[in-house]
Structures are given as C-alpha cells and as structure tokens.
C-alpha cells in the first residue's frame, strides 16, 4: 500500500481542527456586557451595533453551514477518491457533465443569495433610515489630521478627542446623532461596540447614530488611513448616566478658569503663538487649527488618546510633540525650561 493516502488524512484533520478552533474562539469574542478594553464587535452595547451583531450571527451560520457541507464533501472526495494503487493504470469512468446537477447547484445558491439579501436589505434600511427621535442629542464630529473635534451646537460646547454622550435605554431613548465632517483628508469614525464605522470625508457630510445602553468608556480609532499618525487618532467615548452627563455639560459650558497664580503661564501661552492654533474660551485664544483646550484637564488623555494626561506627558508634548507622536502637526515651540513649566502649570488649571 502506498503512502499517498496518508497525505489526505492530515488535511482532513486540519480542516476539522480549523473549524473547531474557529467555533471555540468565536464565543470568546463575546465578552461581558458593557465596555471593554478590547473593542470586539461581538460585544455590542448600542442599538446599531447590537443589530449588526445579530445579523452577523445569522450570516455566520449560513456561511458556516455552506462551509460544513461543501468542505465536508471536499474532504470526503479527497479521502475516498485518492489513487490507492498507482500500478493500476486503468482510468476511471470519464464523466463529462450533467445538466440537471448544474441546474441544481445554480438554483440553490441563488435561493441562499435571495434570503441573505432580503435579510440584509431590511437591516440596511432599519439602521440607515431610522427616524430621528426629538430627544436625540446632536454632535458634530470634525476629523482632523490626527485628532477629533467634537461640537455640541445646541449646548455651546466644543471639545476634542474624548466624546461624552448620555446613556440611553429602551424606556428613555437618548440616542446621539453624529454629523461627520472633515477638515482635511478622509478619516473614519469607528467605535466597534457602539456602531459600525462611517467615513469622514471632506466636502461631504455623513450622518451616523449611536444608542448606548451601558455606561462606561468605549474605545475606537480612525479607520481610514489619513497620514503618518493615523494609528494614533484614537477615540474615547464616555457614556455617562444622565446625572453625570448633565454635570459634564455644565462644566464644559463654563468659560476657562482664570487662576491668577498661573498668569505667567498664561502669558507664555498667549505670546508664544499657542493661541494661533488653540482656543481657550474666555481668553484671547481663538485658534481653530488644534484642539480646544478650555477644559483640557477634564480629559484623561492627550494627543488623541496617544498618551495619558499627566504633568510629565503634557510637558513633554509641549516641548516636542514629535517625541511622542512623530509626524503630528503640532510644531515644537522651542520653549525654554522655565516657559515650559509655566505654561504647563497654566494648562493644568484648565479643569
């Protein structure tokens, strides 16, 4: 007996192993409810994301079924019809085709396509054309190279990189509708646990919505290559229960805190060209090119999530942004140590 048949067994075993491992790994993606550090699409916490996950399970079952059937037949063929005796030179029956079989395996896939298409189309309309409830919060998202600007037009708030939205629930729906604009190139807004991604395109307005049902911090990032620091255009969405959200709004609406003890730092800020790019509401700084710093200290990270907001990081960022996010568009302002300390002190008062 030749050893050719050995070849087919491992292949079949490998096929089975892959299938098993895949099915075992899949549930691991569906972790507990609420936000996690790993933004798995199988841990949805908001209506559009949840709907998509359910559709995903359906699609995966259909596709998984096809795989089992066809893959199974392939595996069977590979084992059963291997050449057991190469010395036997007889050729097997030469079959040229069969119209009935061709018809059968044309019609069945078409039927599967119809089912998948109708299910999918229904969900497309449900998500994209969902009517906007009057209680919805409106946020305008502006994508920049390499940070996110968030404006709440009706609340008079402008902030950056960390988005706060109210918690929603079935009884008291409070979805957030996001209008997506770009200041420069194409970006994409993606927070997997909250919704599918939508591109952020210059000269083109897109709309998306989220409806988060569990509070906490949800992470995501820009999902369309936008230049050298695309990898560090991170997103942090804080879903706050109503009380917390109201407090956050109230704080954000206030103009910047004026602390006379850091007047020197404020002086540095206003004379060293920082104000050309940044806004601090209530001061002369009204620059729009970089993030709004009015309530910088209410955030937990800087550089669009690239590093945690600590004094040391803040100081280093101002001294030389390229050392933390090489290629970011903020220039090093060539401040001396004293100026750096002063301006950092100043910024630390902007709660």
């Amino acid at each position: 007996m030749n050893r050719e048949w050995l070849r087919s067994l491992p292949r079949a075993a490998m096929g089975a192993a892959i299938a098993t491992v895949s099915f075992l790994l899949l549930p691991s993606l569906a972790l507990a409810d609420g936000p996690q550090a790993t933004p798995s699409i199988f841990a949805p916490a908001s209506t559009p994301a949840t709907d998509i996950t359910h559709l995903a399970y359906f699609a995966l079952s259909v596709v998984g079924g096809i795989f089992v059937v066809v893959g199974g037949l392939l595996t069977f063929a590979v084992i059963r019809f291997r050449d057991r005796d190469p010395n036997d030179k007889r050729e097997p029956a030469q079959i040229y085709g069969s119209n009935q079989i061709e018809l059968a395996w044309t019609v069945i896939p078409i039927l599967i396509v119809v089912v998948l298409f109708l299910t999918t189309a229904r969900m497309i309309f449900a998500i994209q054309d969902a009517p906007k409830p009057p209680s919805a919060l409106n946020v305008t998202v502006v994508g920049h190279q390499f940070w996110w600007e968030f404006r709440y037009p009706k609340l008079g708030i402008t902030t950056a990189n960390e988005l706060h939205v109210p918690l929603s629930s079935d009884k008291d729906p409070q979805p957030t509708y996001l209008k997506l604009l770009s200041a420069d190139v194409v970006h994409s807004f993606w927070v997997p646990q909250l919704a599918g991604k939508t591109d952020v395109i210059p000269n083109h307005v897109n709309l998306t919505w989220i409806d988060p049902k569990a509070p906490g911090l949800y992470v995501g990032q820009c999902a369309q290559f936008c230049g050298v620091q695309h990898a560090h255009m991170l997103l942090r969405v804080y879903v706050d229960p109503p009380q917390q959200f109201a407090e956050w709004v109230k704080n954000e609406q206030k103009p910047a805190i004026q602390d006379p003890s850091v007047a020197a730092g404020r002086q540095v800020f206003e004379t060293q060209a920082c104000m050309n790019c940044h806004t601090i509401r209530g001061t002369a700084a009204t620059g729009r090119f970089g993030p709004d710093l009015t309530h910088l200290m209410s955030r937990q990270t800087i550089a669009s999530g690239a590093v945690p907001l600590t004094r040391a990081n803040l100081r280093q960022w101002i001294e030389d942004p390229d050392s933390m996010k090489p290629g970011s568009l903020m220039p090093a302002m060539k401040l001396n140590d004293q100026q750096l300390d002063q301006v950092t002190d100043y910024l630390e008062t902007l709660k």
């Binding site: 070849r7 292949r11 490998m14 892959i18 993606l29 790993t38 798995s40 699409i41 995903a56 699609a59 596709v63 096809i66 795989f67 066809v70 893959g71 037949l73 392939l74 063929a77 590979v78 019809f81 291997r82 050449d83 097997p92 029956a93 030469q94 040229y96 085709g97 069969s98 061709e102 395996w105 044309t106 896939p109 396509v113 998948l116 298409f117 999918t120 189309a121 497309i124 309309f125 994209q128 054309d129 420069d184 190139v185 194409v186 993606w190 997997p192 646990q193 599918g196 991604k197 939508t198 395109i201 000269n203 083109h204 995501g220 820009c222 369309q224 290559f225 050298v228 695309h230 991170l234």
Partner: protein, 563 residues
C-alpha cells in the same frame, strides 16, 4: 507513462538546449531582445517571483513591527511606505505579471500556434511592465519630499484623495506611484490585446472555441476584462497627475471636487482587478485538477459560462468597498445583491471542480497538493467575501484586519497556492526536468501551516476591532498575542517560499529528466518536446476534441464520440 511516444506532429530539433556555447553578453542580448512567447513568458514569471520575494520581505518587516504593541522597529512613515509598496508590488508587479507569464508561455502551445499574434508588442509589454516596476522602486531613493531624502509612496495602495494631493503629499512618492502604474498599465493593455488576438485568430485547425482548453478560455476572458479594468485606473491616475502638476481640481475638495469620485474610479478598477488576479488560479485549476484526478473537467460549458458570468458581474460590484462612505440605503442594497450574485458562478466553479475529483483516481503529487489547498482556501475566502458583502456587517469589518485576512486568503491561499501548483506542473515542460517531489512536499506543508497560522488568526483580531494601516497599536486592546502568532506564521511561510526558490534552482541542474509528458496529460503542450523547440510544433496540429492527447492515447474511446 512518461515515455509514451505517439504519432504527434513532432519536433525535429534534437539539440539539447543547454549545450550551445555563447558568451555571457550574447546570452544577455538574446534574452533582452527576444520576441519568443516562451522566453517572454519566463521573463514575466521571473519578474513575478522576484517581486514576490521583495513584497514578501516587506511583509516580514511589517510583521516584525506589529508583533509587539507600541513597537519601535520601524518609524511610522517607514511602515506606511512599506505597506503601500507591499500592496502595490504584490498586485501590479507580482499578480499581473503572473497572468501574462502563464498566458504567454502556455496559451500558444495549448492552441497549437507558433507564437503570440504580435511578438514585438509582446516584448514591448513586458519591458514596459519591468520598467514600471523599476520606476516604482526607484522612488525609495528618488522621491525627495518633506520628510527627507528619498521616499516611496506612503498613501496605501488605493491612494485615496485628497491625501494624495500636493497639499497633503508634498513629496514625489505619489507621483512615482501614479506614473509607474500608468506605464505598467500600458504594458498590461498591450498584453491583453495580444492574448485576445492570439486566442481568437490563431487557433489550430479543428479547435473551435468550445474545444479550446479552459486555461486558454480563462486567459481570453481575463484579457477582455482587463481592457476595461486597467483603463479606469489609468484614467484616474492621469486625473491625479493633472491635479498635482497642472493645478487641476478633479479631487480637490476645496474647489468643489469630490474625494468620493476618486473612490468610485479606483474601485471600478480595483474590484474587477482582483478577479483578474484570481483568473490564472482558475485557469491552472482547470488544467491540474482533471489531470491529477484522471477525469475530464466536469461541465466544460458551465465552466465557460461561469467564467464569463463572473467577469461580467464583477464589473457591477465595486461599491462594496464603499459601504461606509455614506451612500444611500438603496445604493448599498444594490451592491449587496450584486456582490452576493457573483458568488453563484463562483460556487458553480467550486462544485464543478469537486465533481471532477468525484469518482476519480486522485494522485497527490505536489501540483495536486497545492490545488487541493487552493480548493479549501478558495472556498473559505469566498465565504468570508459573502460575509463582507453584508453591508451592515461590513460597517464593522471594513478596513479591519478581517478584510486583510479575507483578501490574503484569496491572494495567498487561493492564488499563490494555485500558482505554485501550476509552476510545479509546467516546470517539466519548460525546463525538461522534474522538480524535486521531496522539496515540493516540504514547501507545501510549511506553506500550509504558516498560511493558516497567520491568516486564520487574522480574522479574529479583525473581529476584535483592530483596524488596518496602523503602524502600531495600544497594549491594552488585547490584540498583542494574536499579532505575535500572525507574525510567527509569516516567518514559516517565508521559509517555505525560500525552499521553493531553492527547488527551482536545484531541479534545473539535478532534476529527473521529464520527457514530453511526465503527468500523462491531455492538452497540446504535452505533445511537443520539453522544453519545446522555438517553433513549438513542426507541423500545425489538428484536433477533434477538447483532449487531443486523450484521443490518441485511447483510440478505442476518444472524447469526440461523447462531446
């Protein structure tokens, strides 16, 4: 079975090809000025293999950088250039040359012709492709720009506007990208025209289109598809160059231009392009699977119809790359339907290959090992494609590592595996020697293991929210372990490919003599010597069925009495 002789319009040239003495320069000049389809075919394949190794090296560097979170092995701009070049190289300098390499060598032999319809155009097309490749890589040293001396393009292989405008890409990287691809595009157009004219106008007596080997059919269909696939890209790149150099506003969003228009134009090229890349795999499967199953292809007319169907439908699915762009729900639904429909003829092909193997006597020599891998992997790749066609699901999966896993399953798991199979299958014809079965099996198993370790895992890291085109990722996202596994698989595949490269060389000098027909096959190329003489056939063959050599070997039961 390898030594059967039969009354074929045979060869008259008895000089073993390697003995003729030439100086090195004479040899070089011969290759540089050749218009022989076999030599040009080999040049294309060598070009493809060289760029496979280069693109593979780029991939290895990428995987080293991504093996650890917050890694500093590569600077961000270097990483961005490497993945742009990796994609561009693999598609245009590896995948496309393989189409023309296989078509050039095999098609004239299979249709009983002496050469391609336009030998000099053939040579021009090859050298334009090679020059374009050289120009693209020259960008590493010539592309002076904002970030210092020399840079290659760093805008991804789909180069979305307005990132590619002068404002956001001030160096010359984008120009190298656009211009080198315009040049290779002209070469591609020439090659496609040549194949169409050859297949339509140069078949031997008796070989009607429906008696032609499926390999030739697929090359005809892919060439027709190429005519209207590569040209939109050329048009878009000309527009981009007009924007960058003549102050045009095609994609200038500040002047009312549209970034979305670039996306449409690019994907109108980009989607059919991936079908262009997969057609040679189909072509090879249509030859290798029947021969090694010892049965004719099941459902020849259905296979022809399915191939043509895939080509047509593939022209209407492009916006499934744009589900997240904000098209209307009706637009999105349309493209869901068209994309899923392309799965129907594709499925027909898989079923026909399965039916070909069914009831056969499958010989698992190296070519068939690779084609069996192709079948399983192509099936899975097609299924993940169906998953991606479901627009809402795609709103999560688009631009994530799931997509990368899907298309590498196609490009590597299906196409590269099939191509390896085809190279092992036709190597004896081209060189007169068999490739080492032992090394072939090492190559196969390492490639299979490495491939699955990398690309199976990659699906999961995409489902866990990891986007593509990022030079690093946060440590607390939970992606680190899987990325390490993916990278390890990459190294295993690299070893496999190096074994293959070694096998190519070793077998040329030490491989077993192959004879005309080592695999006991049935199409015309196996009737002539290995390697074929420069004129291919001493007398133009005349055929009566799809498997002329089967008819000769089995005069009591010829094909033409059945179909």
């Amino acid at each position: 079975m390898a030594d059967q002789t039969f009354p074929i319009g045979g060869t008259l040239d008895l000089t073993p090809p390697r003995i003729a003495k030439k100086t090195f320069l004479e040899w070089l000049l011969e290759w540089a000025t050749t218009v022989d389809h076999k030599r040009l075919g080999l040049l294309y394949i060598v070009l493809a293999i060289v760029f496979l190794l280069v693109g593979g090296a780029e991939a290895i560097l990428i995987r080293i950088q991504l093996a650890f979170p917050n890694n500093h092995f590569l600077a961000p701009d270097t990483f961005n250039r490497l993945f742009t070049m990796h994609g561009t190289t693999m598609v245009f300098l590896m995948g496309m040359p393989l189409v023309f390499g296989f078509a050039n060598y095999i098609v004239p032999l299979q249709i009983g012709a002496r050469d391609m319809a336009f030998p000099r155009l053939n040579a021009l097309s090859f050298w334009l492709t090679a020059f374009g490749g050289l120009m693209l890589y020259y960008s590493f040293i010539g592309g002076s720009g904002l970030y210092g001396v020399g840079n290659a393009p760093d805008v991804t292989w789909w180069a979305y506007a307005p990132l590619t405008s002068r404002a956001f890409s001030p160096g010359h990287g984008v120009d190298y990208w656009a211009l080198s691809l315009i040049i290779t595009g002209i070469g591609t157009l020439g090659g496609a025209i040549n194949i169409i004219a050859t297949v339509i106008s140069m078949r031997c007596k008796g070989m009607t289109l429906l008696r032609m080997p499926l390999f030739a059919w697929l090359m005809l269909v892919v060439s027709g598809l190429l005519l209207i696939t590569i040209t939109p890209l050329t048009a878009a790149q000309v527009m981009l160059t007009i924007d960058r150099y003549l102050g045009g506003h095609f994609f200038d969003t500040q002047a009312g231009g549209s970034a979305v228009v670039w996306m449409h134009f690019f994907w109108i090229f980009g989607h059919p392009e991936v079908y262009v890349l997969v057609f040679p795999a189909f072509a090879i499967a249509n030859e290798v699977i029947p021969v090694f199953s010892r049965k004719p292809i099941f459902g020849y007319p259905a296979m022809v119809a399915a191939s043509v169907g895939i080509a047509f439908i593939s022209l209407g699915v492009w916006a499934h790359h744009m589900f997240t762009v904000g098209m209307t729900s009706v637009d999105n639904a349309f493209f869901v339907l068209s994309t899923e429909l392309v799965g129907v003829p594709t499925g027909i092909k898989i079923f026909n290959w399965l039916a070909t193997m069914w009831g056969g006597k499958i010989r698992f020599k190296t070519p068939m090992l690779f084609l069996t891998g192709f079948l399983f992997q192509f099936l899975i790749a097609g299924l993940t494609g169906i998953i991606l066609s479901i627009a809402p699901f795609d709103w999560q999966l688009h631009n994530s590592y799931f997509v990368i896993a899907h298309f590498h399953y196609m490009l590597v798991g299906a196409i590269v595996f099939a191509v390896f199979g085809g190279l092992y299958y036709w190597y004896p014809k081209v060189t007169g020697r068999m490739m080492s079965e032992k090394l072939g099996k090492w190559h196969f198993w390492l490639m299979l293991i490495g491939f699955h370790v990398t690309f199976d895992t990659m699906h999961f890291v995409g489902l866990m929210g990891m986007p593509r085109s990022i030079y690093t990722y946060e440590a607390d996202r939970g992606w680190a372990h899987l990325n390490m596994i993916i990278s390890i698989g990459g190294f295993v595949q690299a070893i496999a490919v190096l074994i293959f490269a070694y096998n190519l060389f070793w077998s040329y000098y030490k491989g077993k003599e192959a004879g005309n027909d080592p695999w006991d096959a049935w199409t015309l190329e196996w009737s002539t010597a290995s390697p074929p003489p420069v004129y291919n056939f001493a007398v133009e063959p005349e055929v009566r069925s799809r498997r002329p050599l089967w008819d000769i070997k089995h005069p009591e039961d010829p094909d033409w009495s059945y179909e």
